[in-house]
């Protein structure tokens, strides 16, 4: 009756009406007409009340109520009419109440209003008068409530019946007996209130369900919409029950819940069942639900095929999970066993059992719903029982079984991408990942990895990427070989080719990105123990080597760098580990094998660089026999250069790297150094393009002359050959046709001259340098101005400036530039 707190207003405002029988305008007109009559009659009624002519007032009230007999209005319009009329009825109620309280009782009023010939107005009046009687004499309460709810049976028309009973419910909301023990039995106890509301609920639900079966089948959609607009009327009964404060858990178990569930189950109407079950969950307190989980869930299993049970159970699970969390998991849940004994059980256990029973009994349930249920269970397990990993595993095992059933049903081996089941399974898989944020926990779940395999190829990639990103974000390390194996087997889809992968080439960028992630993951395979680290690496390599050329080029480098780092670690630990040299040797053997795998995979530049990197590491660690091994690495690199690298640019880059590496390595004796540097010089001079040749040959000078290290000059320094190299480079440079290129090469060469001289090679006399400067000047003078030339000039001048600086304040340890004239 109160407009404001009535939930309808909201609902109607969003509901749009298209009544085929009477279109919108017609509805408006009908409603307007009716409202006008109501206005007139209500005015008359109030005037009569002012004059204390009760009987006339009742007559007008009855005429006004007669408008509610219409069958022409849509539920929305009927609701408006109902609101208008019940508002007016309040005047009558208040008047009577006042009269009664003043002691001016009207004899037989309850009987008198029953003379109204039409049942709808009669019952509205009867309720209004009955309410006044109850309010003024609580002794009548119990019997009057019983009578009112019984008499309302006379209205069997769904819409009119629903509103009439809603009026009854509204009117009585404040007068229902709400004490467990009545001083006067005629006042009734809360049990009478429960009976009253349950009865009203049962009748309203019947009427509501009946709407579904009336009228033409083509109006089904409209009817269902109208029904859903009216559902709040039915639900209000449950709200009223939940508002009875003296209902105990026991009352709820014995009276309220069975009463409701019986109706819900027996009405066999999907819309009603779904709505009412959710209503139950929402309106009653958590403690009540906890104490009655089993009956509630059992009823769920008995609902109609069309009912979306999933939503109901999920709502309940979430509600209880929240409750449990609020109480920090301290909830006492006891369940009456079949033998009548109470046993304390875990929330999860109850749900798990019941959900299993439900999914089994409801064969019509769509598989995605079954999965959603498992998802909800999973959430429950994680939220309420964070310590019980086996619960999670149990859910996953169930899920696994469901997926297997889906495969049997669909005849496919994997879940198709972007289907409903696929999405659900994805959620199930992501949930523990996001919850634990720890891949190590995931691998403890025995059923997790197998579950991933139900996804199709793109799905597995998605989840793998997700898992890796989690690891990277949380920066967790995987520190045993077993874990590594488990993790990699979980990420199987990225590690190796899949039987079901698409036959077309995958998108290169995507693939690179995935492998890049995998490579980053490998960096997290770390253990504090060096020995363990070695095992980890072998395990990782063992798994990863199955990935083929396309993958290992991404995945092996991090392994190798891990291995190199490990070698350094052993080097640091040499005081604690006597075996360190052997171990280092083993590591480099491992590295060598690994790199040769890359070579076998017909890669060239990558293994070349890795060999060089290895050689560098070896030379620095300096374990027994390291020279031979370093030489091996370097020579492998060189032979790769010779055999595999044909592109001139790549050749230049490779030879530059090889030269640089050699220059950095100090472990070689003459026996190993000589062939290496000769080969390098040879290779450099064999480069195809003159500028390349010039640069490479110039670099070769460094193979013959290294700077002073630790106060000692390199034993194998050969000033003459270094000079030869530079000279040859200058000669080759001058063979270049393009003046600018020539100038650039010479300018670079000038730097090289200066560098070698500063490193103490006296063979590079100032005269030579002067000649070069002279030559550059000549060349530059011949060149037209351009941006390129400007850069070269700048380069040249910078070098000159450097020389000038050195002349002014010479490096005390290096050779100076005495006698050099720069003009």
């Amino acid at each position: 009756m109160d407009r404001i707190d009535h939930p309808f207003l909201y609902i109607w405002s969003s509901a749009q009406m298209t009544n085929q029988a009477s279109p919108v305008e017609e509805q408006e007109k009908l409603l307007d007409d009716a409202l006008n009559i109501v206005k007139v009659q209500a005015f008359q009624m109030k005037r009569c009340l002012d004059k204390s002519k009760l009987m006339d007032a009742l007559k007008h009230a009855s005429t006004m109520l007669g408008e509610l007999r219409t069958s022409l209005l849509s539920p929305k319009s009927y609701y408006e009419l109902y609101m208008a009329i019940t508002d007016e009825l309040r005047h009558l109620e208040l008047y009577l109440l006042e009269e009664f309280q003043k002691g001016r009782k009207v004899a037989d009023l309850y009987e008198l209003v029953q003379y109204a010939g039409n049942i709808v107005p009669r019952l509205y009046l009867l309720i209004t008068v009955g309410l006044v009687y109850i309010k003024t004499n609580t002794n009548l309460r119990r019997d009057l409530l019983k009578d009112l709810v019984e008499m309302c049976r006379g209205v069997q028309h769904p819409l009119r019946g629903l509103f009439l009973r809603n009026y009854l419910l509204q009117c009585t909301r404040n007068v229902l007996p709400d004490t467990s023990e009545a001083q006067n039995e005629n006042e009734g106890t809360v049990k009478d209130a429960i009976d009253f509301v349950l009865m009203n609920f049962a009748e309203m639900n019947k009427l509501w369900v009946r709407m579904q079966h009336q009228g033409h089948s083509r109006d089904k959609e409209r009817r269902e919409r109208e029904r859903s607009e009216l559902r709040i009327l039915v639900g209000t009964n449950l709200v009223r029950l939940s508002q009875l404060e003296s209902v105990t858990v026991d009352d709820y178990r014995r009276l309220v819940l069975p009463g409701i569930l019986e109706q819900v189950v027996s009405c066999r109407d999907a819309i009603a069942q779904e709505y009412l079950m959710e209503c139950i969950i929402q309106v009653f307190p958590d403690e009540f639900h906890l104490a009655n989980l089993q009956p509630f869930l059992k009823s769920c299993a008995e609902l109609q095929p069309g009912v979306n049970i999933k939503n109901i159970i999920i709502a309940l699970i979430e509600r209880l999970a929240t409750y449990s969390q609020r109480n920090e998991g301290n909830i006492n849940l006891s369940v009456v066993q079949e033998d009548g004994q109470e046993q304390e059980v875990q929330l999860f256990e109850v749900f798990s059992d019941q959900v299993a029973a439900i999914t089994q009994s409801r064969t019509d349930m769509p598989p995605e719903d079954m999965l959603s249920l498992q998802l909800a269970l999973l959430k429950l397990a994680q939220r309420c029982h964070p310590n019980k990993l086996n619960y999670v595993d149990r859910v996953l095992a169930h899920t696994d079984k469901i997926c297997a059933d889906i495969h049997v049903a669909s005849g496919k081996t994997h879940l198709e991408h972007n289907t409903a089941v696929f999405k659900e399974l994805m959620k199930i898989l992501k949930l523990p990942a996001d919850h634990y944020k720890n891949i190590l926990t995931l691998i403890k779940l025995q059923k997790y990895a197998p579950l991933i395999r139900h996804l199709n190829h793109p799905g597995r990639i998605m989840i793998a990427v997700h898992l890796i990103n989690d690891v990277l974000d949380t920066d967790c390390t995987i520190s045993t070989p077993e874990d590594v194996e488990a993790v990699l087997s979980m990420l199987d889809v990225l590690v190796k080719d899949q039987p079901d992968q698409p036959t077309t080439e995958p998108d290169v960028e995507d693939f690179m990105e995935e492998q890049g992630l995998l490579a980053r993951l490998i960096h997290h395979f770390k253990s504090d123990s060096a020995d363990l680290q070695y095992l980890i690496l072998s395990a990782a390599r063992k798994t990863l080597q199955g990935g083929g050329a396309r993958r290992i080029q991404h995945t092996f480098p991090p392994i190798l760098f891990h291995a190199y780092r490990l070698a350094f670690l052993y080097h640091e630990l040499k005081d604690q580990d006597e075996m360190w040299e052997k171990k280092c040797q083993k590591i480099f053997q491992f590295c060598h094998q690994t790199i040769s795998m890359l070579v076998k995979a017909e890669l060239a530049e990558l293994p070349l660089r890795l060999y060089l990197q290895g050689a560098l590491a070896i030379s620095e660690i300096g374990f027994a026999n390291h020279e031979t091994i370093a030489y091996e690495f370097l020579s492998q690199a060189f032979s790769l250069y010779e055999d595999e690298i044909s592109d001139s640019k790549a050749q230049l880059a490779a030879i530059t790297l090889i030269i640089a590496t050699f220059e950095q390595i100090n472990c070689f004796g003459a026996e190993n150094a000589e062939p290496m540097r000769t080969q390098c010089a040879l290779a450099a001079s064999k480069l195809l393009k003159k500028p390349d040749q010039s640069r490479a040959v110039a670099l070769c000078a460094h193979l013959f002359w290294k700077p002073v290290k630790d106060g000692k000059p390199w034993a194998l320094n050969d000033a003459g050959r270094a000079l030869d190299c530079v000279k040859k480079a200058a000669r080759v440079a001058q063979q270049c046709m393009d003046g600018a290129v020539q100038a650039q090469l010479l300018a670079e060469l000038l730097g090289r001259y200066a560098l070698l001289r500063e490193r103490g090679n006296a063979a590079l006399t100032t005269n030579l340098i002067e000649a070069v400067i002279q030559k550059i000047r000549e060349e530059l003078a011949n060149l037209d101005q351009s941006e390129e030339v400007e850069q070269i000039t700048k380069h040249f001048h910078n070098t000159l400036q450097h020389l000038k600086n050195r002349m002014e304040c010479p490096d005390p340890e290096g050779l100076g530039y005495e006698g050099l004239t720069l003009s």
């Binding site: 009987m55 004899a107 008198l112």
Partner: protein, 436 residues
């Protein structure tokens, strides 16, 4: 009165003893108006005085004798000339002689047997009156005064209920129950209807009270049906298993006791007609005779002082009180048995009190209850259904074809209290055909 405007004449007045204390009853006159008459019961003495007032005081009035008669008679309207007197009592008040002054004669009809109740119907009227006559040579001076007579009746409160299963095969099966077969005039009909099978689209259901007045005999029998009350008891279409409560208060309607074969001249019977209307306005009905009787309400008078406002007391508390009153005052009339299904009836009418209604100023406004009920009940019962004047029932012809017997008889279920009537649900309503 004199033909020639001269001579003495006189007015007669009949004054009843205890007229100021005696109850009055409303009785319809033959022109449809209601008048209040003094109320007598069977066996009561009718006494009073006949006052003769001379128009011309001083001159004498010559007469052949003065008498007073008590007459009970039945008037059949189609036979205006013939009145059937079933009572005719005469008292001589004066021998022939002269009247010289106003004179008052006492009279008394002691313990008169008054077997029938006054009644005014469509074709018949039963009335009691006193007639004082001054017999003269030319024209008698006559004065008639009507009195009302009510016949009281008594039935035990425990009466057989009416319970019956009726239906149309494969179409509609219902079981209905009225709590009694005999109701007093202020009674409440309580019952319910149980739907066993519903394959028609019912729009609503009502109970009407039909009064059937039969006059004459043999070929000259006239039957007049009148729907006294129409009372909707259900709105909308029920489904199988639904049970609908019935509760009809009789006090508000204009009813008389059932009269059977009054002096072989006429009968008035009442029927409860249960009518179901489907969405195509076809009517399905079942008529059931009930006996109406007038209950003495004397015994209540001392118990409920009407001048004290009736407090709302709980019905079940009120019950024992009534029981007490019944056994103490009039044990033959009301012996409420505990098993009586009346409980329901009582509980619904917490402050129902017959005494109030008739014997004291009720707190309600001026209007009397029956006026109110008419107002309420007539408010709009007919406003959306076709005027069902019996004769022009449109469905009548349509549903009468002989080749399709619409009336299905269902054998009485053995264990049910048997009513000696064929449980037939008639369809369609054929009120046009007189007397069943």
């Amino acid at each position: 009165m004199s033909f020639f405007g001269f001579g003495q004449t006189a007015d007669i007045e009949i004054v009843f003893d205890d007229a100021d204390k005696r109850k009055v009853a409303e009785v319809k006159t033959d022109d449809g108006k209601k008048e209040k008459l003094l109320l007598y019961y069977d066996g009561e003495t009718v006494s009073g005085r006949v006052n003769v007032t001379l128009r011309k005081p001083g001159s004498k009035l010559e007469h052949q004798g003065i008498k007073v008669e008590l007459i009970g008679q039945i008037e059949l309207f189609y036979d205006r000339g013939n009145h059937h007197e079933f009572i005719s009592l005469v008292k001589e008040l004066a021998r022939p002689g002269d009247l010289l002054q106003h004179t008052s004669y006492p009279f008394e009809f002691a313990n008169v047997e008054k077997p029938y109740e006054v009644y005014t119907g469509a074709n018949v009227r039963l009335r009691y009156f006193l007639r004082a006559t001054i017999v003269r040579r030319l024209t008698d001076i006559v004065k008639e005064v009507d009195i009302a007579v009510h016949t009281l009746c008594s039935y035990p409160d425990v009466l057989n209920s009416i319970k019956m299963e009726v239906g149309i095969e494969d179409c509609l099966h219902i079981e209905f129950e009225y709590n009694k077969s005999k109701y007093h005039l202020k009674d409440v009909i309580v019952g319910k209807i149980y739907f066993l099978l519903v394959r028609i689209k019912i729009k609503h259901m009502e109970i009407s009270i039909i009064k059937r007045e039969t006059t004459g005999s043999g070929p000259n029998t006239f039957t007049e049906n009148e729907t006294v009350a129409k009372y909707e008891i259900m709105d909308g279409a029920p489904v199988r298993g639904e049970s609908i409560p019935i509760r009809v208060f009789l006090a508000g309607y204009d009813l008389t006791p059932t009269m059977r074969d009054i002096n072989n001249k006429f009968s008035v019977r009442y029927y409860l007609n249960l009518v179901l209307m489907d969405t195509e306005d076809r009517r399905y009905f079942k008529q059931q005779e009930v006996t109406l009787w007038r209950k003495s309400d004397k015994s209540r008078l001392p118990l409920h002082n009407a001048h004290h406002p009736q407090t709302l007391s709980h019905p079940s508390q009120q019950m024992p009180t009534r029981q007490l009153s019944a056994s103490s005052e009039d044990n033959s009339t009301r012996s409420v048995s505990p098993s009586h299904p009346n409980l329901m009836q009582r509980s619904i009418s917490p402050s129902m009190n017959d005494g109030d209604k008739h014997n004291g100023p009720s707190e309600m406004e001026q209007e009397k209850p029956d006026v109110i009920t008419n107002k309420l009940s007539n408010a709009h019962i007919d406003n959306n259904e076709p005027e069902d004047d019996e004769e022009e029932e449109p469905v009548l012809e349509k549903t009468l074809p002989a080749e399709k017997p619409l009336i299905a008889e269902k054998p009485q279920v053995a264990e049910k209290p048997v009513i000696a009537e064929k449980p037939v649900l008639n369809r369609p309503e054929s009120e046009a055909s007189p007397s069943q």
